[in-house]
C-alpha cells in the first residue's frame, strides 16, 4: 500500500512509479514517438528516409520557385477576369459581388442552422483577415527596379511614356552588350517583351537565328533573344560587332524635344549616361535616337533607366495616373508603350523573401481585401442568425422559412445578375458574357439542382417493372455513362443547335449547362438507384398494406429514405460535377479555366511565360472548393441525416 492509495475501495495506480518501473526514455516523449512512428523497423526507416528525401527535394524546389522566381502578378492583376470572366462588363461587376454576398449569407445561415463551423476554420478566417490588414502595412518598400530598354539597330524604336513629379531626377545610361557576361541569364532574363511566346520557341526561333549566323547578319532580333530567356541559357555563336551610334531623347507631353544626350559614336567604351531633372509635374516620354548618317550601324545594348516610377499598365492603374497627371502624350511610332509597363520589368529570378511579401503577396491581399471583409461580415451575420434560429426559434417554422428564403433568392439573384428590362440600373447582360469562378459555381450548382428531378425519374424508370420504360432509361443512362463528357459537349456545341428549331439563338453557355445537367442526371440516377436498392421490401409492403398506391408509396415511403441514404454520394457527384465544368473551357466558354487560358494566351498582355502561376492558382481554388465539399460529405456520412437514418433502418 505504500505506492498505491485506496480511495473508497477504488484502486488508483501509483502517481509516480519508481525508476525501475518507468518506461525507458527511448519509448516515451519525442524519441519514443519517432521510434514508434518513423523508425519502427528497418523497412520503416528506409521508407521514411526515401519519402523524406523525395518530399524535401520537391517541397524545397516548389517553395523556392514560388517565393523567389514565380511572378504572381498574373493573378492579382487579373482577379476581375478570374472572378467574373473576361467578357463581363467591368462596370457591372458589383452585381456579381452582390449576388455572391446574398449566396454567402444564405449558405452560412444554413450552416449555422443545420450545423456549425469548426473552431479551427473560424481561427483560420480571422488569421487571414489579420494578414490582409497587417501584411500590406508592414511590407518593405522596394526600390523601383532599373528599367532595361533593349536597343538594337534593326529593331523598331519604341517611345516609352512615363510620369514624373517636379524635381525628379532620372538617370539614363547605355550598356553595350559586348561582354561574354552580358549574354548570360542575368542580362536577358530581366526582360521579356510583350510579344513573347515562350511556347513558340525552339525550332523556328533557332533556325532563324542560325540562318542569320550563317549569313553573318547580326545582331539577333529581339524576338529571338526573348524567346530563349529565363531557363534557356543562350549564348551567341559570335560576339556582335558594336558600332551603335545612339543617344537618348526626352520629350514633353506635347511631343517637343526637351533634352538629348550625346551620341555613343560607335564605341563600346563610351558609356554615355545622362541625368535629367523634371521641370514640372506631368507626362513625358523618352526614346533612343539613332544618328541619321549612321543608320546601318550594328550592335545591341541596354538603355538602363533608373528612378523611374513604373506601374502596371492595366486600365485602373493607368486611369489613376491620368486623373492625377492628365492625358498621356500621343506617341508617334509604330509600337509604343503607352505607359511604363511593368510587364517589361520582370524579376530575373533573384528576389528576396521580404520582396516577395511586398511585391507579390501584399498587392494580392489588397486586391481581395474589400471582397473578403464584406463577405466575412455578411457570412458572420448569416451564421449568427442561423445559430440564433437553431437555439431560440421554432425549428419547424425556421426550417420552412429558410427553404423559402433560398427559393426566393433564386429569382432575385437572377434579376441581379442578368438584369431586368424595366430597371435602368440593371441592364440586361448576355449569358455569353458570364464567366470566371462565378460561372463555374453557377454551372455546377444549377447542374446539380436541375439534374436532381431528372435523375430521380431515370432511377425510378430503371427500377420499373415495365420493360419498355426500363429499357429506355437504361439505354439513356448507360450510353451517357459510357462515353466521355467531352463527346457530349461536342454534341451540345455542334449538333444541339440543329436538333431543335430555334436552338441556334440559345447561347453556348446555356447549351453547355443543358449537357452538363443531362450528364449529371445519368450518374445521379445510378447513385439514387443504389439508395432505392437498400430500401427493405417490408417498407413497400407495409405501405401497400396501409392502402397507399404506387405513387404515394414512392413519394412518401421509398424516396425519402433512399435519398437520405445517398446524400454523401450525391455530394461526391457534386464534387465531380464541379471538376467537370472545367471541360467547357475547351468549347469557348470562359469559366474559371477558360478565363485563365484566355488571360495566359492573350498576346497583348504577354503572360505566356506565366502558365504555371496561373494554373497553380486556379488549381488551388478548385482544390479548396472540392475539398470543402468532400469534408462536408464525410461529416454527413458520419454524423449527418443519412447516418442517423441508416442506423434506424
Amino acid at each position: 500500500m505504500s505506492d498505491n492509495q485506496t480511495y473508497n475501495n477504488i484502486y488508483v495506480g501509483p502517481k509516480d512509479p519508481p525508476a525501475a518501473r518507468r518506461p525507458p526514455a527511448s519509448e516515451v516523449g519525442v524519441i519514443g514517438w519517432l521510434r514508434a512512428n518513423l523508425f519502427k523497423s528497418l523497412g520503416d526507416t528506409i521508407s521514411t528516409i526515401l519519402t523524406l528525401t523525395i518530399v524535401t527535394v520537391f517541397v524545397v524546389d516548389t517553395v523556392s520557385w514560388a517565393l523567389v522566381s514565380a511572378q504572381w502578378e498574373v493573378i492579382f492583376l487579373n482577379l476581375r477576369q478570374l472572378g467574373s470572366g473576361p467578357e463581363f462588363p467591368s462596370s457591372e461587376v458589383w452585381r456579381i459581388e452582390l449576388s455572391s454576398y446574398i449566396a454567402f449569407f444564405l449558405v452560412f445561415m444554413s450552416v449555422g442552422f443545420w450545423g456549425r463551423i469548426p473552431r479551427w476554420a473560424m481561427g483560420l478566417l480571422v488569421l487571414i483577415g489579420v494578414a490582409i490588414v497587417v501584411i500590406p502595412e508592414v511590407s518593405v518598400v522596394v526600390e523601383e527596379p532599373t528599367l532595361h530598354y533593349f536597343v538594337a539597330s534593326d529593331y523598331d524604336v519604341r517611345q516609352v511614356a512615363f510620369i514624373a513629379e517636379e524635381g525628379d531626377e532620372i538617370t539614363f545610361s547605355f550598356d553595350p552588350l559586348t561582354e561574354d557576361a552580358d549574354f548570360g541569364v542575368g542580362s536577358f532574363a530581366g526582360y521579356i517583351a510583350n510579344d513573347n511566346q515562350l511556347s513558340d520557341t525552339s525550332w523556328d526561333a533557332f533556325n532563324s537565328v542560325s540562318r542569320d549566323v550563317d549569313r553573318g547578319l547580326l545582331p539577333l532580333r529581339l524576338s529571338d533573344i526573348t524567346a530563349l530567356t529565363e531557363s534557356r541559357v543562350f549564348a551567341l555563336p559570335d560576339r556582335p560587332i558594336y558600332d551603335l551610334n545612339v543617344s537618348v531623347a526626352i520629350y514633353n507631353a506635347a511631343g517637343e524635344l526637351i533634352q538629348q544626350s550625346e551620341f555613343t559614336n560607335g564605341s563600346a567604351d563610351n558609356l554615355v549616361s545622362m541625368t535629367w531633372e523634371a521641370p514640372e509635374k506631368g507626362w513625358y516620354s523618352f526614346a533612343p535616337v539613332f544618328d541619321e548618317d549612321n543608320i546601318g550601324s550594328t550592335g545591341i545594348a541596354w538603355l538602363k533607366v533608373d528612378d523611374l516610377e513604373v506601374f502596371f499598365s492595366t486600365v485602373p492603374e493607368t486611369e489613376k495616373r491620368v486623373e492625377e497627371f492628365g492625358e498621356p502624350p500621343e506617341l508617334d511610332c509604330r509600337s509604343c508603350a503607352t505607359s511604363t509597363n511593368r510587364t517589361d520589368l520582370r524579376f530575373n529570378g533573384e528576389r528576396t523573401v521580404p520582396q516577395w511579401f511586398s511585391l507579390q503577396l501584399a498587392p494580392y491581399l489588397t486586391a481581395i481585401s474589400t471582397f473578403f471583409f464584406v463577405t466575412l461580415a455578411v457570412s458572420s451575420a448569416g451564421y449568427g442568425m442561423g445559430q440564433v434560429a437553431k437555439y431560440r426559434g421554432n425549428r419547424k417554422w425556421m426550417t420552412r422559412s429558410l427553404v423559402f428564403l433560398w427559393v426566393l433568392s433564386l429569382p432575385i439573384q437572377y434579376v441581379i445578375v442578368i438584369g431586368f428590362e424595366n430597371i435602368d440600373d440593371l441592364p440586361i447582360i448576355d449569358t455569353a458574357d458570364l464567366g470566371g469562378l462565378f460561372l463555374t459555381i453557377v454551372l455546377s450548382a444549377i447542374g446539380i439542382i436541375a439534374s436532381f428531378p431528372v435523375g430521380i425519374m431515370l432511377a425510378l424508370g430503371r427500377q420499373s417493372d415495365l420493360p419498355v420504360i426500363k429499357f429506355l432509361c437504361t439505354l439513356f443512362i448507360e450510353v451517357v455513362r459510357g462515353v466521355p463528357l467531352i463527346t457530349l459537349l461536342f454534341f451540345g456545341l455542334y449538333i444541339l443547335l440543329f436538333v431543335v428549331d430555334g436552338a441556334r439563338d440559345v447561347d453556348r453557355v446555356i447549351r453547355m449547362g443543358i449537357v452538363l445537367t443531362l450528364f449529371t442526371a445519368a450518374y445521379l440516377a445510378e447513385v439514387i438507384r443504389g439508395g432505392l436498392q437498400i430500401i427493405p421490401k417490408g417498407q413497400i409492403e407495409a405501405a401497400k398494406a396501409l392502402g397507399l398506391n404506387g405513387f404515394y408509396t414512392t413519394v412518401f415511403i421509398v424516396l425519402p429514405q433512399a435519398l437520405r441514404a445517398v446524400i454523401p454520394a450525391i455530394m461526391g457527384q457534386f464534387v465531380s460535377l464541379l471538376k467537370d465544368t472545367s471541360l467547357v473551357a475547351l468549347f469557348g466558354v470562359f469559366e474559371l479555366l477558360g478565363a485563365t487560358r484566355r488571360i495566359l494566351t492573350d498576346t497583348a498582355t504577354g503572360y505566356a511565360a506565366l502558365q504555371r502561376e496561373g494554373y497553380i492558382y486556379i488549381g488551388i481554388i478548385y482544390f479548396i472548393l472540392c475539398y470543402l465539399l468532400a469534408v462536408a460529405s464525410r461529416r454527413l456520412e458520419t454524423t449527418g441525416a443519412g447516418a442517423v437514418r441508416r442506423e434506424r433502418i
Binding site: 521514411t48 533557332f206 415495365l466 419498355v468 467531352i486 428549331d501 482544390f623 475539398y627
Partner: protein
Amino acid sequence: MEFVFYTIVVTVLAASLGGIIVREMFVRKGQNPDRGLYLGTVLGLPGILYNIDVGNAFLSALVDGLLPLAIAIPLIAVLLPTRALATQHATIPFYRDVEVLRVESQVFFAALFIGTLILLWISLTGNLADSEFALDFNIYERRFGAGLSEGIRFDTDWDWFDELGENPIAYGTWVTILGLVGFSGYRYFRHETRWIAIACAVGAAALILLSPIIIPFLEDTFTRYLQPFSMTRAIMTGFSNTLRIVAVSIVASTVVGVLVGIGLLSNNYLVRNISVIFTEIFRNTPLLVQLILIYQAMLIILPAEFEGAEDLALTSPDSILGFTLHEELYAFSSVGFKHVSLEPTQSSVWLFGSMILGVVVGYLVRRYRLHLQDTKGTPARTWRFVVPIFVAFTAVGWLIAGKAFTADYPGVERVGVRFEYVGGSVISLPFVATFIGLSLYTAAFIADIVRAGIQSVPTGQIEAARSLGLRGGQVLSMIVLPQALRLIIPPLGNQYVNLGKNSTLGFAIGFAEAYTAVQLANNESGQSVPFFVGLMVIYLLLSLTLSVMTNLVNSTTRIRAR
C-alpha cells in the same frame, strides 16, 4: 412537323384502341387477353414508321395509321393458337384494369420516344440541309487535310493486310491471334476463365516469338508527323494512340495506386500522411487543370530542343545536348523523351524462345515442388528453384542468339543550316504529359479503393496469420490482398473505364488521340453528326471492352460456391 405529331397521336390511339378491342374479343372467347395487347403494341410501332413519308395532313395520317391496324390485328389475333383462360374476369372496365394500363402506358412511352426521335431527326436533317452542311455519311471516305502529330499510319501506300497476306509467318500470326480471341470469347461466355488464361499465354508467347517480324512493321508505321489518307484512317490513327495511352496509363496507375493505397494504411507517420496529401490533391482538382499544368510546366522547365547548340556551330557535332553522341541512352527536352531504341534481330528468336522455355520449365518445377510439399511435407521454396531456372535459360538463350538486339542511339545531325534528330525513338511531350496526368489522377482514386478493400479484411485474419508465424510481407501477399481483391476489382474496373474516357482530355494539350482526330475532321468538314456517331461508337466500344476485361479478371477472384 405537324403531320408527324398527328401521326404519333393517331398511332398511339389506334394501338391502344385496337389492343383493347382485341382484348375484349379474347376475353369473351375465354382466352388469354394479354396476347391482344402485345399485338397492339407490336403493330402500333411499325404503324408509326410506316407513316413517316406519307402526306402531311391529319386525315392521311389517320387513314394510314388506323387502316393497317384495323385489318391486321384481328386477323393475326384470331389466327394465332391460344390457350384457354382459367378464370373469367371480364368485369373490370379497361380503364381501371392494371394489365391494360401497364401495356398501354408502355406503348404510349415507346411511341412518344420513337416519335420524338423521328421529330428531332427530321428537324436535324432539315436544319442541316438549310445550312451549308447537309448531312453526309460518306464524309468518312473524304480526304483528311490536317495532320496528326504522331501515330501509326494506316495508309494505302503501306497496306497492312496486303503485306501480311504475302508473309506466311505474319499471316499465321494473325490467324492464330484471331482464333485465340474467338476461342477466349467462346470460353468467356461459358465461364471457363482458366482456358482464357492459357489462350492468352499462348498468344503472348506467339507474339514474343514473332516480335522480330512484328516490331519492324510497327516501327515502320509509327511516325512523328503524319497526314492520314482519309477521315477514317485519321480516326483509326487517333484511336490507336488512345489505346496506347490507355494501356500504359492503366499499368502505371495501378502500380502507383496500389503502393499509395498501402501507404494510406501504413504505420509510418510520414508515409501515411504523404499518401493522404497525394490522394487529396489529385482527387480534388480537375484532371484538365492538372494536364494543362503538367504540360505547360514541362514545356517551360525542360530545356529547349537545341540548348547548347552554340557548341554545334563551333565544335564537332559529337558533343551536342551536353552528352557525347552515340553513347547516350536518353534525353529529356521540350520535344519529348528521346531514348535509345532496341531493335530485335532475326537471331533474337533464340533468346525469346529460351526465355519462354524457362518460364514453362519453371512452372513445371514449381508444380512439382508444391506436389512434394503436399505429399512429403518438404518446404516448397519455389522461388529458389524458379528464378535460377529462368536466369539460366535466359543466359543460354543470350549466348546462342549472339547479337539479339541492335541499339539505335538518339543524336543530332547537321544538314546544311538545319538540324535534324537521327536515331533513337521519341515519346512526344503531349504523350508524356497525358500519361503522367492520367496515371496520377487515376492512381489517387485507385489508392482509395485499395485502402477500402484492405480495410474490409477482418483484423482476425491478419492476427491469425501473424500467430501462424507469417511475416508482414507474407501476410499482405498471401492473406490480405487475395481477400481484398474481391472487393477491389469491381470498382477498379470502373476506374479503368473512367481512365479510358478521360484520355480524351489529351485533346487539350495536343495529344493526337481519337477525339483530337475527330475534332480536326469536324473542323475541316463541318459534318458534326456523322463524327458524333463515330465518337459514340468508339468510346462505347472502349468502355465495353474495358469492363468485359475487368469482369474476366473478377470472375477469377470470385469465391466459388461449393
